[in-house]
């Protein structure tokens, strides 16, 4: 069953008196538990597509249906609720909150869900266990390596047990060893929890882990195929 349906999606951004078309007539479907990625050069529309799926942006034309909800028809509150309950984000620069420790960074999404203290603790510890950071719960982000920061970011995105995780260039700031470690962790979570992972990347290391690769160029889907190079 598809949890993401992209139908005839067009996204225009105003530039001067005209428009720049970032996405042009995109049609895609993603099922539950997919481990897929958008690849392509800079400006091909990868991040814009992730933002629309993540309900941070809306289509200019066409539809993006995420978890049976049309993104363009959602109010601000409904969008926030969708993100909070069903979508996790992982960023290139980790974007952890610097004044909070590992535990508190992971806990933040759950505070928005008004979960009880004991439930929160259980969920946070479980998420940190998935990424192997239970011994660092008191550490602040500035005390962690880049790889550890990204693992905290994964735990933060996974703690609420989302249906979809959107990862925008998650390995761009990591060395090869850490990149593999991160990707293995995400792959494991994908397989164990059946979470859909969607990547925007041009890192070949990432591509090797993907089950499905959607290649974008100038806002159009150039190819959409199963990954033969998979590890």
């Amino acid at each position: 069953m598809d949890i993401i349906k992209i139908e005839n999606l067009v996204k225009n951004f105003p530039v001067g008196k005209g428009f720049f078309t970032a996405l042009n007539d995109v049609n895609l479907n993603f099922g539950k538990g997919e481990f897929a990625g958008f690849v392509g050069p800079s400006g091909s529309g990868k991040t814009t597509l992730l933002n629309i799926i993540g309900s941070l942006d809306t289509p200019s034309e066409g539809r993006a249906i995420v978890m049976d909800k049309s993104v363009s028809e959602l109010t601000h509150k409904q969008s926030a609720k969708l993100r909070n309950e069903h979508i996790g984000f992982i960023f290139q620069t980790y974007n952890l909150l610097p004044v909070y420790n590992v535990y508190e960074n992971v806990e933040f999404s759950l505070l928005l869900q008004k979960m009880s203290g004991s439930e929160r603790k259980k969920a946070v510890m479980q998420a940190l266990e998935w990424v192997g950071l239970t011994d660092k719960i008191k550490s602040k982000p500035n005390m962690l390596s880049g790889g550890e920061c990204q693992r905290v970011a994964i735990a933060r995105s996974m703690v609420k047990k989302p249906q979809i995780v959107l990862a925008d260039e998650p390995t761009a700031n990591l060395d090869s060893k850490n990149s593999h470690h991160i990707l293995q962790t995400m792959k494991k979570l994908n397989e164990e929890l059946n979470v859909t992972f969607l990547f925007a990347t041009h890192d070949e290391k990432v591509m090797k882990y993907l089950n499905r690769i959607v290649t974008l160029e100038d806002g159009k889907v150039l190819s959409d195929k199963q990954n033969n190079l998979k590890l």
């Binding site: 926030a80 909070n84 960023f91 974007n95 909070y100």
Partner: protein, 424 residues
């Protein structure tokens, strides 16, 4: 969530300590400046009240019209009876009688011949009654340079300047020449018991201070006085009360057709003080207003910069599913917490510094000694009820407003545009 926010505020010094310092400083300066301006103008008014105007003053209608000439022939009569009435009907004031007189001071040599002469600006006050507060009110005890205050009739204190100039020493004799209330010639010899310096040219020039009983005898003013001064027992001038007193007294006792009938004046009515007080009020108001505006802009900017610095954090929070409205609310809560702490701290420090300057004051006597205006020697701050909120409210409002403005951008922007701007 509130606990989470407080943790963030406490841990992030640039989010808490810096804004708290800026808010405290702004609030402190507002409180302190207000206290200082209020105190300085209050001191000037108080000085005038103590030496010349009282909080209210009673003179005859004719004396009031010509008071610069010290016309004791137009002085109040039957003052003991009038004082009794005033003490009964206006008991919230302490009433004192004073005589002002002009004349010539003559300093004799060992043969009794004139050695030196100079003009005298005489003031007669009650120095010998045991319950009189006049010495304290006119700060005479602290202003004595040599000798002591008179403790019996026939003694006088004179300006230390005059004593120096004419080589008059404590214990020397000095004769005052002038005219009695009835216009005949008066001369009376006094023993100099001490010299005095108020540190102010206006008060020190040719000053001679004698007891009122001596003046009444010498000037033939038994049961008479130039003026009766009333002081509120609270110590503070209350213009509204003074106005009521003046109206009721004048309605009852002051007769237009009788030039010798008593007439009451309040402090504001005398010596152009109304204009001075109004100017003082508006100056203080204008200064405080501009000060508050300036501080509000500084605090507003602090809030704005604090908000802008955390744009990327807001981006992450949006992505994690926090509503824009909720982020905006937390920004306001944080600003309220920081604004409150900074304002409380600034108000406390401001009150502390103002209290210190209220008690100790700043001594400007060395600067004002040659000034011919009647100015205080020591300027003090004054703690008034408005100090408790005059800095507190702008501190709280400006901080919150600054953060609200920064947060408004988040609230109004489209999520997608905002997310891009937030550099996540």
């Amino acid at each position: 969530m509130i606990k989470f926010l407080i943790k963030g505020i406490l841990r992030d010094k640039t989010r808490s300590l810096l804004p708290i310092i800026v808010v405290s400083l702004g609030v402190f300066l507002t409180v302190f400046m207000t206290a200082w301006i209020t105190g300085v103008f209050g001191d000037m008014i108080d000085l005038s009240a103590r030496y010349t105007t009282g909080h209210v003053k009673i003179m005859t209608r004719s004396y009031a019209e010509n008071k610069n000439q010290l016309p004791n022939d137009l002085a109040l009569l039957e003052v003991e009876e009038l004082l009794k009435t005033l003490n009964n009907e206006y008991a919230e004031l302490e009433w004192v009688k004073r005589i002002n007189f002009g004349g010539l001071l003559d300093v004799p040599d060992e043969n009794g011949e004139t050695r030196a002469q100079g003009p005298a600006a005489g003031k007669a006050i009650d120095m010998l009654s045991p319950d009189s507060k006049e010495l304290e009110r006119m700060n005479i005890l602290k202003s004595i340079v040599k000798g002591r205050v008179p403790n019996k009739q026939g003694e006088a204190i004179i300006s230390d300047n005059f004593a120096e100039k004419f080589n008059v020493n404590v214990g020397d004799e000095l004769t005052v020449f002038g005219s009695t209330m009835y216009g005949s010639m008066m001369f009376k010899t006094f023993i100099v018991s001490g010299t005095i310096s108020f540190g102010n040219a206006f008060l020190d020039r040719g000053a001679i201070i004698i007891d009122i009983s001596d003046a009444q005898m010498a000037l033939d003013m038994q049961d008479a006085a130039s003026e009766l001064l009333g002081y509120f027992k609270t110590g503070a001038y209350d213009d509204a009360k003074a106005d009521t007193l003046k109206s009721t007294f004048n309605k009852k006792y002051s007769l237009i057709e009788d030039e010798f009938s008593p007439q009451m004046f309040k402090l504001r009515d005398q010596d152009g003080l109304a204009q001075y007080l109004d100017m003082a009020d508006s100056m203080a108001g204008v200064m405080v207003f501009f000060w508050i505006i300036a501080m509000s802009i500084v605090l507003w900017n602090t809030g704005l910069l604090g908000g802008l610095r955390r744009y990327s954090e807001y981006g992450v929070r949006l992505a994690l599913g926090e509503e824009k409205g909720h982020i905006f609310k937390t920004i306001i809560y944080e600003a309220l917490i920081i604004g409150f702490l900074g304002s409380v701290l600034g108000t406390l420090i401001g009150l502390g510094a103002s209290y210190y300057l209220q008690e100790v004051g700043l001594d400007f006597s060395s600067i004002t000694k040659n000034v011919t205006m009647m100015l205080p020697q020591v300027y003090r701050a004054a703690i008034t009820p408005q100090l408790f909120y005059i800095g507190f409210l702008p501190g709280l409002v400006a901080m919150t407003l600054g953060n609200a403005l920064a947060g408004y951008a988040i609230y109004k922007r489209k999520t997608a545009t905002l997310f891009k701007e937030l550099e996540v």
